[in-house]
């Protein structure tokens, strides 16, 4: 629809109004990821519908249920927003290093360790008033996550260790560390069935955004996305990072400190994922325990790839996927489908979106460089 309108506008433009061209070029470049992304999502949904039909269920009922469970009411929207909060932060853990050309999938580990560090911080400092305690917890979680993913960047640049594999290995190590600490030195002796750290006192817990049943982690996540966008698009560090992501050799010849950029960006990325763990502890769980391993880190990978590693695009997509995850319970109860339905759909969408990468630059309409010069 908009594509046709664009085309008509261009042909009209050939008639003489040359001043339209810069605007059209801008529009065409922006329209490409949106159009291809939407087409990929539709294709993924279509393939998944075939699968649902094959097992004898109605895909229309499924999608209605997903809409109802994720976005159908104010209650479900709030639920989706609560789930989007950690996704915003774990998606940044993938997106920021991706701008430097690194594929890091260890956000889950940074989140888990961030949560443990946040839970341990008050025990180490003793009794402080709520706000300093929370600030300290946030700082501890960010340091833990930042060191964890920063180490991945360090090993990548200075030792040549593949960052995808090392980050996932570190996730398993982080979960083992968490189990060890929560079962051992940090264990609350009264937590019998589910070993946990000492619970945070109720009046220390992070509350909700006024007028909503959504905790402040959402605001922190959106703010982190905005800060990341400014960092990438509007600072010399971001410019250098994008340049190194495009061509490391060229960036090094230009004298850019590629090593420091990689370690810095991965550390910032990890600190965001760690912060997500702090909000899980201080706003949701009240203590650190095995429920921190909820898969937010893995869903964050999908969010980042769907957003093509653009921090601004992460905001709506985290909301969409938060809604998808929120609808899982409803799908399970009402349709008798397994809880893994959401995971299977996510995998299908992920493949569709990556496959559609191949269509970038193939359509003349989105590529002003290939338009007729006479325009």
């Amino acid at each position: 629809m908009t594509v046709e309108a664009n085309e008509r506008a261009i042909s009209l433009d050939a008639g003489g109004k040359a001043s339209m061209r810069p605007m059209l070029e801008w529009l065409a470049r922006r329209a490409e990821p949106v159009a291809i992304g939407l087409a990929a999502i539709l294709a993924g949904l279509a393939v998944f519908s075939l699968f649902i039909v094959a097992i004898g269920k109605s895909p229309i009922a499924l999608f209605q249920m997903m809409y109802a469970g994720g976005f159908g009411s104010w209650f479900s929207i709030q639920n989706s927003l609560s789930r989007a909060a950690p996704l915003l932060l774990t998606a940044l853990c993938v997106a920021l290093p991706a701008r430097l050309g690194l594929v890091i999938i260890g956000g889950e580990g940074a989140l888990v360790l961030g949560g443990v560090a946040a839970a341990a911080a008050p025990a180490l400092t003793g009794i402080l008033p709520p706000y300093p305690t929370l600030a300290l917890m946030a700082l501890a979680s960010m340091i833990a996550g930042g060191l964890w993913i920063g180490a991945v960047g360090f090993l990548r640049h200075y030792r040549g260790v593949n960052e995808t594999i090392s980050s996932l290995l570190l996730t398993y190590i982080a979960i083992a560390l968490m189990n060890q600490l929560v079962e051992g030195p940090l264990r609350d002796p009264t937590s019998l069935n589910k070993p946990s750290t000492l619970p945070l006192p109720m009046d220390y817990m992070i509350g909700n955004i006024p007028g909503m049943d959504v905790h402040w982690g959402l605001v922190a996540g959106v703010a982190a996305c905005l800060v990341s966008w400014i960092l990438i698009e509007a600072t010399s560090y971001g410019f250098a990072a994008r340049m190194a992501g495009g061509n490391v050799r060229a960036a090094q010849i230009q004298g850019l400190p590629v090593g420091r950029l990689i370690v810095g960006f991965t550390a910032i990325a990890g600190s965001f994922a760690g912060l997500a763990g702090m909000f899980e502890v201080a706003a949701v769980q009240g203590s650190a325990n095995g429920t921190l391993v909820a898969g937010y880190g893995y869903t964050g990978i999908l969010v980042a790839f769907l957003a093509r590693h653009n921090p601004l695009a992460i905001i709506p997509i985290a909301f969409l996927l938060g809604g998808l995850e929120a609808s899982g319970g409803l799908i399970q109860r009402r349709m008798g489908l397994p809880d893994a339905t959401v995971l299977a759909l996510q995998g299908t969408l992920f493949l569709a979106i990556l496959l559609c990468e191949t269509f970038y630059g193939r359509f003349k309409i989105f590529n002003p460089d290939r338009w007729k010069r006479s325009l």
Binding site: V103, G160, L343, L354
Partner: protein
């Protein structure tokens, strides 16, 4: 003290037995990945293939009563997963590492989805060969009760080592892996070779999964794999793409994985979870020790994006 007590000797014995038991999935996944990587492509999605293979094998074994039919079904499923990966990676601008991550989520999602009804029923197990009849210690007998798939894996490692060097398909695979241009000049279609190599890799990884669900631990649930599929990728780098080294490295990883349970069996429970992390720490340490930012890894296929 009675005859069956072997005291602290139980620790090395349990590690040896564990190494053999735990290593089998590593052997199959790493041999599969070695074939794929030798063709110049990396499939990080073998974790998903492994879990889907475990589910398929278990489901078919429950339905038909034959564990071997389960293994064959798993191979077919793994083959399909490899074909999907190989097909998508054929297109320009598509990153094989990212596709691997997507295939991982895809495989896990569909394995959990389709495998939900099979968590309860019990499947027949794969047979083991008792080689410990000479010993009167039940621990030794148990340790030497070795699954058939372990020996198949050993034979496969030897065969692949020979085949990579001495057969026409082996040479074609290596040419494609070392230089796409050279392969094209020889009239070989690199995409087709990589498609076949990824499909074979997927089929072998699924056998590893079948071992998990049909022998050890011998049940199907959503926590069946703990990153074996991914560790195998690192293991192939450590083994320098050599099938015999893959086999030996798999034994080493299996031993590391058996460390925690072995110590626990003699009463060492301190730091149980840390010992549980031993295989991951070992993998990471080996990656750090064997990687280098300055030179390409020796023996690495030239077209492999992992080491470029």
């Amino acid at each position: 003290m009675d005859d069956t007590a072997i005291g602290l000797w139980g620790v090395p014995l349990a590690i040896l037995a564990g190494a053999i038991r735990v290593s089998t999935p590593f052997i199959f996944v790493s041999l599969g990945e070695a074939i794929t990587e030798r063709s110049g492509r990396i499939n990080l999605g073998l974790e998903g293939t492994l879990v889907f293979g475990a589910m398929t094998a278990y489901a078919i074994a429950v339905k038909t009563g034959s564990p071997w039919l389960g293994v064959i079904a798993a191979m077919a499923a793994g083959c399909v997963f490899g074909l999907i990966h190989g097909f998508i990676c054929k297109f320009p601008r598509v990153n094989d590492i990212a596709i691997g991550i997507a295939m991982m989520q895809f495989g896990l999602g569909f394995a959990f989805f389709l495998g939900k009804p099979f968590i309860q029923p019990a499947a027949p197990k794969l047979p083991a060969i008792p080689l410990g009849g000479w010993s009167s210690f039940p621990q030794v007998q148990a340790a030497l009760n070795i699954n058939v798939l372990f020996f198949i894996g050993l034979a496969l490692a030897l065969f692949l080592f020979w085949a990579f060097r001495n057969t026409r398909p082996g040479l074609i695979l290596r040419v494609v892996g070392d230089s796409t241009d050279a392969a094209r000049a020889m009239g070989i279609n690199p995409d087709r070779v990589r498609l076949v190599a990824t499909a074979l890799g997927g089929a072998l990884a699924a056998v590893g999964g079948a071992y998990l669900s049909l022998y050890y631990p011998g049940s199907w649930n959503e926590g069946i794999s703990s990153g074996q599929g991914l560790m195998a990728v690192a293991l192939v780098i450590f083994a320098r793409w050599n099938p015999i080294n893959c086999f030996l490295a798999a034994l080493l990883f299996g031993g590391a994985g058996a460390l925690g349970p072995a110590l626990q069996s003699v009463g060492v429970t301190q730091g149980y979870y840390l010992f549980y992390a031993a295989p991951y720490v070992l993998t990471l340490a080996i990656l750090i020790a064997t990687s280098s930012p300055k030179r390409a890894l020796s023996g690495a296929p030239g077209e492999l994006s992992l080491t470029k």
